[in-house]
């Protein structure tokens, strides 16, 4: 079990609202990732759920039981902190066993459980060391061990991988996913790294400025971004955006010309039109329907091994970025004009909200 429910959650520090009416249901056994730019309130959300911060209004329930006012220890959750938060004066063994000691479990049983977890995480030979004698990856494992030894209903991770170097990060990522599959406990994982989110999540929650922008599977988030913010935040290099307006005959009036699409938007509505870099292709001489051909000049080419990032500029000044496979790169030449095609069905249209 481990179903979490946020209802109308609000949190303010002083007069600034950090979390501004958050509603979210997290399913049992789910691996949910909170993703968003730094400062958007991810940690605060997690700390509210942990009980480390008190809510300003709204309720939090775990398995249908209202925990809003409960102390952290009564919520049956465990948390892994960004800097691991190991107890510096305790050995690895004492660190892992501390939560059990707090529950007044017998030393013998504690030892048994700690050994079991240490075994699972490959920490057995380190049990008598202090945290400052461990590498970053080992400290990370201890922090995870400390969480799983208590077998809580819900695991909370606050950017646990951001202090590790790239290789170790991949390794720990896989390990956390494996643990999740084996233990089956609900896991809420905070990160600002979209790649990490895509790779790990059952569902991703995109947050911005204390609000949820979109909830969905990684595929949904990538291919059907619901808001301009999500579209721009997900994807690397990020989506190309063009400012535009709906003109007559449901045509998009864009800097690069008019494009015909099916839209229900009204005449004169201001919009942003987005297209992912990998959807910008060289125009096929045998023109297909639904393709919009645009002449642009190649202004920059960055080679990135298997792929290259090509920047181009339209005569209107509109800049576009495209991702090109290595074997295609010969067709692009710096400073020359080329024709590219933008498939209508690859365009994402976001109405501008007046403010």
């Amino acid at each position: 079990m481990g179903q979490v429910d946020f209802k109308n959650l609000r949190k303010s520090f002083g007069s600034t609202n950090i979390i501004d009416g958050l509603n979210l249901e997290i399913h049992n056994s789910e691996f949910l990732v909170l993703l968003g730019p730094s400062g958007c309130g991810k940690s605060t959300t997690l700390r509210l759920l942990a009980g480390l911060e008190s809510v300003s209004s709204g309720t939090i329930s775990i398995d249908g039981c209202d925990v809003t006012e409960l102390e952290p220890r009564d919520r049956d959750i465990a948390m892994v902190f960004q800097n691991y938060a190991l107890y510096p004066t305790m050995t690895v063994e004492q660190n892992i066993g501390f939560g059990l000691k707090a529950k007044k479990m017998s030393p013998k049983l504690i030892k048994e459980k700690v050994n079991e977890v240490a075994d699972l995480l490959g920490l057995t030979h380190l049990l008598n060391r202090k945290p400052n004698a461990l590498s970053g990856g080992q400290q990370q494992r201890v922090a995870i061990g400390r969480a799983i030894v208590r077998k809580p209903k819900v695991f909370l991770f606050d950017e646990p991988l951001s202090n590790l170097d790239a290789n170790l990060r991949l390794e720990m990522r896989a390990e956390i996913m494996k643990l999740h599959r084996e233990l089956g406990a609900t896991t809420i994982f905070v990160t600002h790294d979209q790649e990490e989110a895509m790779a790990m999540a059952d569902r991703i929650v995109i947050m911005d400025k204390g609000l949820i922008e979109q909830v969905g599977t990684p595929t949904e988030i990538y291919f059907q971004p619901k808001t301009r913010m999500v579209a721009g935040f997900i994807g690397n290099p990020s989506m190309n955006f063009m400012k535009g307006e709906i003109s007559k005959n449901s045509e998009l009036k864009l800097p690069i010309g008019n494009i015909k699409v099916n839209t229900i938007l009204n005449l004169g509505q201001h919009i942003d039109v987005g297209i992912r870099p990998e959807k910008i292709k060289l125009a096929d001489p045998k023109r297909k329907p639904n393709e919009n051909i645009v002449r642009v000049m190649v202004t920059n080419i960055e080679l990135l091994g298997p792929r290259a990032i090509v920047k181009m500029e339209h005569e209107s000044g509109q800049v576009l970025t495209s991702v090109v496979d290595h074997d295609e790169i010969g067709k692009y030449e710096l400073g020359t004009n080329i024709s590219i095609s933008l498939a209508s069905n690859a365009l994402h249209i976001f109405p501008k909200i007046k403010d």
Binding site: L52, E71, R73, A78, F81, L86, Y87, T89, G99, K101
Partner: protein, 283 residues
């Protein structure tokens, strides 16, 4: 000459003149029969002074008084200082204000503190005995039984603030996240204190303990202001003993020997504390 030696030169000169030379002079002095009353008749006597001091009942008594004084004062100050620091850290308002008030005693001249309490606790004109008497409590604060304890209390009044200062800074500097982890781990207040706060604070506690103890060994002003070592010699401390021997009985050689024994004792004490308080190594 490298610039680093030029930079320390003034200090080296100064300290050689005012500390190293007197220190060596003191060592020499301790081997002489040197009396202020017979300043032209100084005789080398070897370790005779040490022999005399080491068997002198007054010296042993002064040493005993000093050790009782230091141990009780420092331990009480440690407990009060730590408790107050923990409380003040939890203060939601007026924190800076409260801290400023509570730190005040450590800055004022000890002779003033001694004299204030001499009168506050005086059995005829003191306010405290006067009002205690109304509750039927009659204590002779500077009588034979209580005098040393009263001096401990005065030291506690003046120097608990020092412990408070150290511990407030120590607590402030502790990382916050282990405490959050402990809350999530379900640790109660006592378990958090005993297994997280206290061990993490240990280096600060050791330093505060050593500084305060070394300072307490020098206790002189309260004794001078209040009891002059009495009643009997129940409050004679080592500093007061040296002061008496050297400047009232004019026996400089013996006073020097006593001060050297004091230094050796302090050295042993510091080494012992450092040794005892080292983190335990787990095999």
């Amino acid at each position: 000459m490298h610039i680093k030696y030029k930079l320390i030169l003034p200090l080296v000169f100064l300290l050689s003149g005012i500390m190293l030379y007197p220190f060596i002079f003191s060592l020499w002095l301790s081997l002489q029969d040197y009396r202020l009353t017979r300043i032209n008749d100084v005789q080398f006597v070897g370790f005779e002074n040490f022999g005399f001091i080491a068997t002198d009942q007054s010296f042993l008594n002064a040493m005993g008084n000093t050790i009782s004084f230091v141990a009780s004062a420092v331990i009480i100050e440690l407990i009060f200082g730590l408790s107050l620091a923990l409380l003040i850290q939890k203060l939601l308002i007026f924190r800076g204000f409260v801290r400023s008030i509570l730190l005040a005693p450590m800055f004022i001249t000890p002779i003033a503190v001694g004299l204030m309490f001499r009168f506050l606790l005086n059995s005829e004109i003191g306010i405290i005995p006067f009002y205690l008497l109304r509750f039927g409590v009659s204590l002779d604060w500077f009588g034979p039984e209580l005098a040393l304890f009263s001096i401990v209390l005065i030291d506690v009044w003046q120097w608990t603030p020092f412990m408070l200062l150290m511990f407030l800074a120590g607590l402030e500097a502790l990382p916050k996240t282990p405490f959050e982890a402990a809350r999530v781990d379900g640790a109660g207040r006592w378990l958090t204190f005993s297994s997280i706060t206290l061990p993490m604070l240990r280096p600060v506690i050791v330093v505060a303990l050593i500084i305060r103890a070394l300072d307490a060994f020098k206790v002189f002003e309260y004794v001078f202001a209040i009891t002059r070592g009495g009643p009997g010699n129940s409050t004679e401390t080592i500093m007061y003993y040296i002061y008496q021997t050297g400047f009232r009985f004019f026996r400089m050689g013996e006073a020097a020997a006593a001060s050297i024994l004091l230094i050796i004792f302090i050295l042993v004490f510091v080494i012992l504390i450092v040794y005892l308080s080292r983190p335990k190594v787990i095999k």
